[in-house]
Amino acid sequence: MDVTFRIRRYNPDIPGKNKPYWQEFRLADVDPNDRVLELLHRIKWEQDGTLTLRRSCAHGVCGSDAMRINGVNKLACKVLMRDINGSKVQVEPILGLPVIKDLVVDMEPFFGHYREVMPFFVNDEPVPANGRERLQSPDDRAQYDDTTKCILCAACTTSCPSFWANGKYVGPAAIVQAHRFIFDTRDRAAKERLNVLAEPNGVWRCRTIFNCTPACPRGIEVTRAIGEVKLAIQRGTTTGIVDISTIHIKEPT
């Protein structure tokens, strides 16, 4: 089938073209199983080598290629043509982060928020006597299973109207990352993280809009995670908040 791409272009270095503009590209012989990422590659390789985008793994693992496809945030490598209604594809950079060129945005503010929540394991207690891992029950592990899946693609954070309005809001992704450690019973820094997230630009900026949940390419229940962090702050405890009976962890096959 034939497909028309409408792409938001921006190149600060070319005089006269340093304002964002739309450009259309036509592609023939497109297979319904082609992914948007491949088609963007075809445009770049066959039609316009200056088209700039970021991707790495091409398999939904690295989180490099989040972009706004037909109006919503997606990973270009995870959207097949057959998932798209019709033969028109509109592609724009994700919102709320400075655009560097075409579809590439500056992720630094996003990672800045990520770092704010101390996204690393904290436990200064002596290691267990046998010198091996700190054990944890499957139920305890289940509490934060969902939020371990984040690949930091920024699709959720840049789908959030609160973040668009206010780039200082830590955003859904940073809260998801904090959730992963806050509800880890082996971690000892939940309090510090909750303090960071209780700041005026922390979780209270969330207006429960639910744009982030469908935006997540990994199916993380983002708004739920944010809600659980809000409850943890309100109640001053991390126990009894995540209902693990609703969490289904796949057995390794």
Binding site: V72, W164, N166, A198, P200, R205, R207, T246
Partner: protein, 367 residues
């Protein structure tokens, strides 16, 4: 400012699910109600402080422009209330997020279901009103009456920004801006708790003032005619007032209507004053904190503007609370009612073909 433009345009362009539109509606309806309560609290306070102005204000409320506004107001409150409950629910039970889309649709459906009978009843009031020969203020007069409110809001904004500038100068003008995480947490809980408390209060208020008795039933010669036709001595009684204690609205003015309600005692307690005090406090604080959320969301990039918005909200809420509690502790006496009657007579003289007999004007105005 750029973030405001970006957010507004991109909110319309981003293909978010129903939750995004629920949020837009929640915001718009909340702001709409805030705008209305600014007018409404200030001019209700005139019932005590400037009875003649209150009569004019209510005459404006009976004009077509405000009738349209009244339908919009009721729709805003109903939607905002139901959607507020949805937000409260999913914040309390994050686990149920899977049902949020359905819940958003339920909110819309429940709003429509509530509004159908309510609008029918309200529309009946409109029909009934225009089947009499009502006093209808011309649009120009109505709009002119609102100009001072516009000026007042601009002044509040200017004062807020000036205070912010001052604060900046004193504190060294750096990032410094008043904010604390404990306050934000408090407000988050307050918005939810107050929302729940407001529901019975505001629904009761709307039911009494807009559905059972419309704004048309509180002032005008037709109020007297209808009362007399019903065999009463004078006008219609005020909804919720005890006729045995306070009598009927025999001047046919909104001032007497308000006084009758506030003077009604149940077991020695002025229940409507308490009711209105509760409504006033909760709605003003909830509404202006909501306004602060909205205004600061779009001014985060400038400490000066952001602080200014906070100061503006504090100024606005303070003025309304002072005026509102000031009016609720005063009494409306016969002098006030007489002033109101004269004012009503003048309105009829200026804007109506004739001054109806029942108002018993001639002697008083004596012009």
């Amino acid at each position: 400012m750029t973030s405001l433009v970006l957010t507004l345009t991109e909110t319309l362009r981003y293909r978010g699910a129903v939750g995004q539109w629920s949020w837009v509606l929640h915001r718009v309806t909340g702001l709409g109600v805030v705008l209305f309560i600014i007018l409404h609290i200030i001019d209700t306070s005139w019932a005590v402080f400037y009875p003649d102005l209150y009569v004019k204000a209510i005459a404006a409320y009976q004009s077509p422009l405000f009738t349209i506004g009244e339908f919009a107001l009721v729709a805003c409150v109903v939607y905002h209330a139901y959607n507020g409950l949805r937000i409260i629910l999913f914040d309390a039970r994050p686990l149920w997020w899977r049902f949020q889309q359905r819940a958003a649709m339920v909110v819309l459906a429940a709003t429509a279901l509530t509004l159908i009978p309510v609008f029918i009843l309200m529309f009946n009031h409109v029909l009934k009103h225009y089947s009499d020969t009502p006093l209808v203020l011309p649009l120009g007069v109505v709009l002119l009456e609102q100009v001072p409110f516009g000026i007042g809001m601009v002044l509040a904004l200017v004062a807020g920004l000036a205070l912010s500038g001052l604060y900046g100068a004193v504190s060294g003008g750096k990032e410094a801006a008043p904010q604390s995480s404990r306050a934000e947490r408090f407000w988050w809980s307050f918005m939810r708790l107050s929302g729940i408390l407001i529901i019975p209060l505001v629904f009761g208020h709307l039911a009494g003032m807009h559905v059972v008795q419309g704004v048309f039933d509180i002032q005008g010669s037709h109020v007297l005619e209808r009362g007399i036709a019903a065999g009463l001595e004078g006008g219609l009684p005020a909804v919720g007032a005890n006729i045995a204690q306070v009598g009927v609205n025999s001047s046919g003015t909104a001032v007497e209507f308000v006084g009758d309600r506030w003077n009604t005692l149940v077991a020695g307690v002025a229940i409507w004053r308490l009711y209105d005090a509760g409504l006033l406090a909760l709605v003003v604080v909830h509404g202006f904190n909501g306004l602060r959320y909205v205004l600061t969301d779009y001014t985060m990039s400038s400490p000066l503007l952001r602080r200014g918005m906070i100061f503006t909200c504090v100024i606005g809420a303070t003025i309304l609370l002072v005026l509102g509690s000031g009016m609720l502790v005063r009494t409306i006496d016969s002098t006030a009612i007489e002033m109101a009657r004269n004012s009503l007579c003048r309105l009829y003289e200026e804007n109506h073909t004739e001054v109806p007999e029942v108002l018993q004007c001639a002697a008083e105005t004596g012009q």
